[in-house]
């Protein structure tokens, strides 16, 4: 690809420049630091842009599902709406309750957003494009996303309000519960791909009996691991606190962890939620739907760059999130807990043992 060649040229020039200025070792170190910072900046910018336009997409999609038009006043087709929303949020007053722990009250949304952003470091966008191609990428994502719960608990506690505290307890219990099922589902994926590296997981899905016949999409993990896909995606919806599991912002039980938050602090929580939605969609596409692989091995499909296939798959999964919100009634809290502990966890454990046994038989399809 031309872009990759250009990027490699820029990197090489920058490296020689830095080494010429600061000497070979220090120059290389400083250059790596600067390069990584710039790349992180670019990625965070792209994710925040995606988050902003996901809110517009959500309002538009739900609008059309409810036979409305959705936002259409700011800019052509309402395309500038997210910017207007952002400006509104920034200029709103931030009210900090008296008796609140001020430092933690401000820190909590920052922690939530930081964690939502940090997980993106290992997400691959195409075979060559990944910020950190680490061996234990899947483990890293599980570890980082498991820290997201701190933003919620700290927000609930620092608000010095019983409602926020109870809401935080509920949200945290929900997230911790669904993390287990999610982890087991991912263990199945790493077992069949025999790797924790996300690029290798995609690579593993590109070969197989059907892929050799040109029917790539039948070789992806979604078919043999269909129950795990269901568990993973539903747990992902519950993890991100989206409808029908959105206890935190339900109108009927409005004691979410962020009741005391206003203005941009609340906005940051929202941004973290949407960034997590996009992350779960990316992971679903990478783990179960073959990442950047084209669904059929034909010249027409292969002509489209892999990155666009990945984006298309992610978009489909994202639309599912919005569709759920427009369609399903909210779960009752005890039923959320029952679904997580009594349905998903036993199901994932049984399927894990089943897949492990399958892989030991001569009929294993993952050799």
């Amino acid at each position: 690809m031309d872009l990759l060649g250009l990027y490699a040229k820029i990197i090489a020039t920058g490296l020689t420049f830095a080494q010429g200025m600061l000497g070979p070792e220090l120059g290389a170190a400083v250059f790596t630091l600067v390069k990584t910072s710039v790349l992180i900046g670019v990625m965070v910018g792209a994710i925040l842009g995606a988050v902003a336009y996901l809110t517009l997409l959500e309002r538009k999609v739900i609008g059309y599902m409810q036979v409305r038009i959705g936002p259409n006043r700011v800019g052509p087709l309402g395309l500038l709406q997210p910017i207007a929303d952002g400006v509104k949020l920034v200029f709103k007053e931030i009210i900090i309750p008296s008796g609140a722990d001020k430092v933690l009250f401000v820190l909590a949304p920052i922690v939530a957003l930081t964690v939502a952003m940090a997980a993106w470091a290992v997400v691959p966008f195409s075979p060559q494009v990944v910020l950190a191609n680490v061996n234990a990428g899947l483990l890293y994502i599980m570890a980082i996303t498991s820290m997201g719960v701190y933003g919620i608990i700290v927000a609930g506690w620092a608000s010095n309000s019983k409602y926020a505290f109870l809401g935080a307890m509920r949200a945290a219990a929900q997230i911790v519960s669904y993390e287990i099922a999610m982890g087991f589902a991912l263990v199945c994926v790493l077992m069949v791909s025999q790797s924790l590296n996300l690029s290798d997981i995609v690579g593993g899905q590109e070969k197989g009996y059907f892929a050799s016949m040109g029917l790539n999409f039948l070789s992806w993990n979604w078919l043999p691991l269909a129950p795990m896909l269901l568990v993973y995606f539903i747990s992902g919806v519950a993890e991100t606190q989206r409808a029908p599991f959105d206890m935190a912002e339900g109108e009927s039980e409005i004691v979410g962890f962020h009741v005391e938050y206003s203005g941009m602090l609340f906005g940051v929580f929202s941004m973290a939620e949407y960034a997590n939605m996009i992350l779960v969609s990316f992971l679903t596409a990478i783990m179960f739907f073959g990442g950047w692989a084209a669904p059929l091995d034909s010249t027409l499909f292969n002509a489209i760059p892999g990155f666009f296939w990945l984006l298309g798959k992610v978009l489909c999964v994202l639309i599912l999130f919005l569709w759920f919100r427009a369609t399903f009634p909210r779960y009752r809290y005890d039923q959320i807990m029952r679904l997580g502990w009594k349905v998903f966890i036993p199901l994932t454990i049984v399927w894990l043992v089943l897949i492990a046994a399958w892989m030991q038989t001569p009929f294993s399809i993952w050799r």
Binding site: E25, L26, A29, T32, L33, D101, L104, V134, N135, A136, L139, Y140, M142, A143, I144, S146, M147, V149, Y150, I153, V154, W157, F165, M169, A172, V176, E179, L196, D334, Q335, R338
Partner: protein
């Protein structure tokens, strides 16, 4: 000049300050949050030692699960700081003994060259593509499979015991059984009575 020592010193400074604040913070919740920061920074130092599996699992298990439960408990306890300070002098001897023991242990490890520890060779540099996770998994499931499974069984027994200790069936709870709710037929709820329509009076 190598960049690794710089990262190490930054991380260890944060780690030491956070650990210090764990024991000096007045608010127990702040102390727990500083402990979380200490764990996270320690995992960064492990990452620097190329023990990426241990580093990630430290975050996954301790930061992501254990400390969350810890935080739950500390937040819900009604802790009176003055009452906590009361027994300071009576606990001091025990605390000091444990402290001295830890200092001695650290001297033994850090001053290893005076005690002949250098006879143990340093592990060879495994190179860039080395997967710590894979090696650990291989050893755990081959050479150490029995101790590993034994530990798993002990943990399982602990889980069962914890559930058995806290589970009590209350008679007056209004528990709903979803399988019964789903099995309900229309006839269980509604009875349709066929009646002839009546003529209006007047």
């Amino acid at each position: 000049m190598n960049i690794e020592p710089i990262v190490f010193y930054i991380l260890s400074t944060i780690l030491l300050l956070a650990a210090l604040r764990v024991i000096t913070a007045r608010n127990p919740v702040h102390a727990v949050l500083f402990l979380v920061l200490a764990f996270f920074t320690a995992s960064g130092i492990w990452m620097l030692l190329r023990a990426e599996f241990l580093a990630i699992v430290l975050v996954l298990v301790y930061v992501g699960a254990v400390m969350v439960l810890f935080l739950f408990v500390v937040m819900m306890l009604d802790i009176n700081l003055d009452r906590l300070r009361e027994g300071f002098w009576s606990y001091l001897p025990l605390g000091a003994a444990v402290g001295v023991l830890m200092v001695v242990e650290m001297i033994l490890v850090l001053g290893g060259k005076y005690f002949g520890l250098e006879h143990l060779p340093n592990p060879a540099d495994p190179g860039a593509g080395y997967s710590n996770t894979k090696e650990l998994g291989r050893i755990l499931y081959t050479d150490y499979v029995y101790p590993f499974e034994l530990a798993a069984v002990i943990l399982l027994v602990a889980i069962v015991a914890a559930v058995a200790l806290t589970l009590r069936g209350r008679k007056d709870r209004k528990h709903q059984d979803p399988s019964q709710q789903i099995a309900v037929k229309r006839a269980d709820r509604v009875r349709l009575v066929s009646m002839p329509s009546e003529k209006k009076d007047n």
